[in-house]
Symmetry: C2
């Protein structure tokens, strides 16, 4: 293994300037823009498919002959997040071999900065999350990610050994500092508390870098890119350096990536900006061409959510080798929005709506669902009543009453769950018999409160709205209807009556969600503060003025439903904290006994 990562990453390439600290660029009388054309492809590397990923990088390079520098996203070679696959014998050597092969096949003089795992001499158990600089067939520098996030969905410490020194590469008369994701963001983009000991950006500037390049695989969160853009503009101006960023695209399990790229001049001018989920135009960015600042408006959060969820669904469907999806349609808002997002992701023709009415379904349920199917130009719309299955389950149990079997009363919890599970059994049977991934339709507010049936409406591969609060589901509907052309629909996709009618599970006569749950605006506010912002109960009470009993009751309800969420479908993360991997929470513990319940009168 010839290019093993050594102590003092990139030592060879920086040795000559080690003790010479360059004057910050912005203080120089005559700033010289880097004479450099840089390619920032929006790569969607697939976890584990090293051969395809290497080939994607080679293609990106071949199609941009004008570039002097090409930067891939973080871990573009193995795909991100590799999880425990990275611990397998052979995976890291294969990535290293792929890097060497790429290096020997790239045009002379071009610098390629590759995100890849890389062995380190310091550890036999963890590798570096590296940005490896290749040029003229050689690995000329290697930067190990220095700040390893361990909050939310991140567990970098499990796999990586942090770099302990800044690393850079000199190229075309410039000194390019190498950063990997958190080295630049330092958790500021998601407002997490950390205790990082180093400031990699400042150290690179101190070392004389005039260009900083950051390769990221930064999962989508509503509003995150805006904070990242502000961070880059601020840091470029503060340090008087050019900053270049590129993020991975596509989706991987529960994570969606926005594929953004930015170049900001030392005076804070945004020279290049690829917006979240925008197509990669295949071009290169000239760092020296005269330009004006690109004005970027903050995107409507509803549009951000829409684009992220579309990308999440598309990624999941494509990468699992599927083309078709199935959505159970109730006529309500959640299933309508889920189906519309699915149609935007894979095309309406590949979506089949399944209507499963019961004795408790209202007339408008079927009509609204059929109207939705028409608006979305769905490939199929099946109507299958659950009545005979519902009856069969109840009569089967009734026959066992002499044996000690329990009576199941109409309208009881058991009876309601039987109906939800009859729908689950039908959806899964249709999926098994003719293919198509089942998308589940529950929203985050319901998942929080446990207002969902395990093995019933929770059935599915992907819980599309599992990280979207109920009021934001309405927001998505309204945005799609008001912007149907931008969203890719021929007409406003969501039937108005699905938006206006009061939410109901329709599992017993005249049932309304609000019989069992607080009003959604109240529930959502508490879920947002408790789950997404991780506020204490005391602070929630103080800041909202809600009744402490109400708040305490909802928080207990949320904790008590953890056992359901533990078995939920994958939830595409779009908020600061989604249910799932990023929120490990005790199931049988008694968090309710902890002081989180005690309303504080002082703000905390």
């Amino acid at each position: 293994m010839s290019h093993r990562f050594r102590s003092g990453p990139g030592r060879d390439s920086r040795g000559d300037a080690r003790n010479r600290v360059l004057q910050p660029l912005r203080q120089r009388p005559c700033y010289r823009f880097p004479q450099m054309k840089i390619a920032l492809p929006a790569l969607d590397a697939r976890v584990g498919d090293i051969e395809a990923n290497a080939s994607g990088i080679a293609s990106a390079l071949a199609s941009r002959p004008a570039c002097d520098v090409l930067v891939t996203p973080e871990l573009a070679m193995c795909g991100y997040p590799p999880r425990d696959l990275l611990l397998r014998d052979g995976v890291i050597p294969q990535c290293e071999e792929a890097v060497r092969t790429l290096a020997t096949n790239m045009p002379a003089g071009v610098l390629v900065l590759l995100g890849t795992p890389w062995s380190t001499a310091e550890s036999s158990s963890r590798c570096a999350n590296a940005l490896v600089a290749c040029r003229d067939g050689e690995v000329v520098a290697c930067a190990a990610k220095r700040l390893l996030p361990g909050y939310d969905v991140f567990d970098d410490d499990r796999y990586f050994r942090p770099g302990d020194a800044p690393a850079w590469v000199d190229h075309a008369g410039h000194r390019i500092g190498l950063l990997v994701c958190e080295d630049l963001w330092q958790a500021g983009d998601v407002r997490e508390r950390t205790d990082y000991q180093a400031d990699p950006v400042a150290e690179l500037v101190e070392a004389g870098c005039d260009v900083l390049v950051a390769a990221s695989a930064s999962p989508f969160v509503v509003g995150k890119h805006d904070r990242q853009r502000e961070t880059v503009v601020r840091l470029a101006r503060t340090h008087g350096v050019t900053i270049v960023t590129v993020n991975r695209a596509g989706a991987e399990d529960d994570l969606v990536f926005d594929g953004t790229a930015m170049v900001v001049d030392p005076d804070g001018t945004l020279r290049f900006h690829r917006a979240p989920f925008a197509a990669d135009d295949g071009g290169v960015v000239d760092l020296a061409a005269p330009i004006g600042h690109i004005a970027v408006d903050e995107q409507d959060p509803r549009e951000q959510r829409f684009r992220a969820l579309v990308s999440g669904v598309r990624g999941y469907v494509n990468k699992t080798g599927n083309t078709e999806v199935l959505v159970g349609l109730s006529g309500g808002i959640d299933s309508a929005v889920t189906a519309a997002i699915a149609a935007a992701a894979v095309g309406g023709a590949h979506v089949t709506g399944v209507l499963m009415p019961s004795r408790h379904s209202s007339d408008h349920s079927v009509a609204d669902a059929r109207e939705l199917a028409r608006c979305l130009e769905m490939g199929g719309c099946l109507e299958v009543s659950i009545e005979s299955i519902h009856d069969a389950v109840l009569s089967t149990l009734a026959r066992a009453e002499s044996d000690g079997g329990p009576p199941v009363a109409e309208g009881s919890l058991a009876d309601q769950n039987v109906q939800a599970r009859a729908r689950g059994i039908l959806l899964m049977a249709i999926s098994n018999a003719r293919g198509g991934l089942v998308l589940s339709t529950g929203n985050k507010s319901e998942m929080a409160a446990g207002y969902a049936t395990l093995y019933g409406d929770m059935c599915g591969a992907l819980a599309v709205l599992g990280d979207v609060l109920k009021m934001d589901v309405y927001g998505l509907a309204e945005w799609m209807n008001a912007n149907h052309e931008i969203a890719g629909f021929r007409e406003p996709p969501i039937p108005v009556s699905s938006i206006t009618k009061p939410p109901s599970a329709e599992l017993r006569p005249d049932q309304l969600d609000q019989d069992s749950l607080p009003p959604y605006d109240v529930l959502d506010e508490i879920v947002r503060r408790w789950i997404e912002e991780e506020e204490s109960a005391g602070r929630i009470v103080d800041e909202t003025g809600f009744d402490p009993e109400l708040v305490g009751g909802i928080l207990r309800m949320i904790d008590a439903a953890q056992f359901k969420r533990d078995q939920a479908a994958i939830i595409p993360k779009v908020s600061r904290r989604a249910f799932g991997r990023g929120r490990p929470w005790p199931v049988i513990g008694r968090p309710g006994a902890a002081p989180v319940w005690i309303p504080a009168t002082s703000s905390s």
Copy 2:
């Protein structure tokens, strides 16, 4: 907050001896056994229930008036593993307050070593995983766990800041070194590779400690305690010090704890040993009384698994406030062993067996299941046929054929899954209608191969055998039958024909598991090596001599089933690597494309 953890943990208590290195004890001409009586209660602290945990520690102290020192397990104050509950505002201060309250209420002169989270001045985002020494109303020393495991189920780095110096407390003429779990085991007990930089044991010996105390919350793994015992004996002898250990008891979600305790003299004599899952006798250990070495035989791995699973089921049922459990009985070995373990855990009278025969069930299925119910003295045995539900699902779908609904052929995958899901719906309805936790019965080999139906036989709160390979399920049956009195049964619990008949899912005529799967001894060997030992495909082929195509096919099958395991019930961990939290694995990635598939001819 008065007793905040300061830089240089326990500095006050060790200052006077900082630069004086004591001669190792075993080199002293006349070794003086510590004049000390030590209490090592097997506490089962509950995550989040700080008040109850503090009260449990106070009771343990009150009931052992003869002790000079009491040691709790790791994080006994908040319960282990606290997961993200620890990040909530208010939780750590409540633990600290509980420590201070305990300290002011303990008998004069007694030293209590408390496992608790503790604030550190060095970090606002992470606390110490501390062992806090209290005496005479004061916190006299505080050790922060130094080695933070990040492998398998551990994510200590997410929550804790590592201690950077050894900490001890002088008491009764002895210097007691403080260790938290991994500080002592250093991953040797589970044979994991790590890159720990410190050797906390050696540093404490160097600092002159003659007694080392290690508080653990070390999850059960078959064989782990034997390795831990060997480690303690070796280290005590090597360093010439007394080593004292205590582990937590009980179960918490997917983890089971053996409640062991050990005291080993400086010459390697095992002075005290509480065996895995043994009752706490409430006594104290006199470190000076003349004794002989306690001989400990390694426990039969089958008995270890049995005791661990019984503890796991009991913990889950009790801590969720349940008393009753439901098990679907097929007459096969998996459901029989699951039900027997449940009966051992909560009493046969609290177990209800549910027989759910179909057109494909053999005559002996019902007979064997009824015989099992009799042997286990089950509280109930319900028989409910799935026929009418199965028929209702198929006829519902047939009615939709004109609408484009798919035909479901008898014996097809869809048809088989409908049957499994009809059973799921019945079990869950019975659970909803009359209470009782559903235990699922699938074993690790099936979970690996994906030979299980999501929302069908995978329904349940706890997958009791989800970390037990099929051949080890037979081993459990044989051990229970051969040792039924030790196991707590009146007669051998498992019907012989459940052991001898060939495994079948009975979802189509004359079906046998071996029609779809390789022989279980082959499958188990591959699963054990691939999942539990994390061997590469090449090494598996080399060492087993199995056909590379067969191995590759099974490994692809395992990866392809990750989406099912992602939605599985909680699996009590008993092996080195269980499915679940300790094995984060990509779902939609293509790990199959990584070189793990390439058979290596050289051993790796």
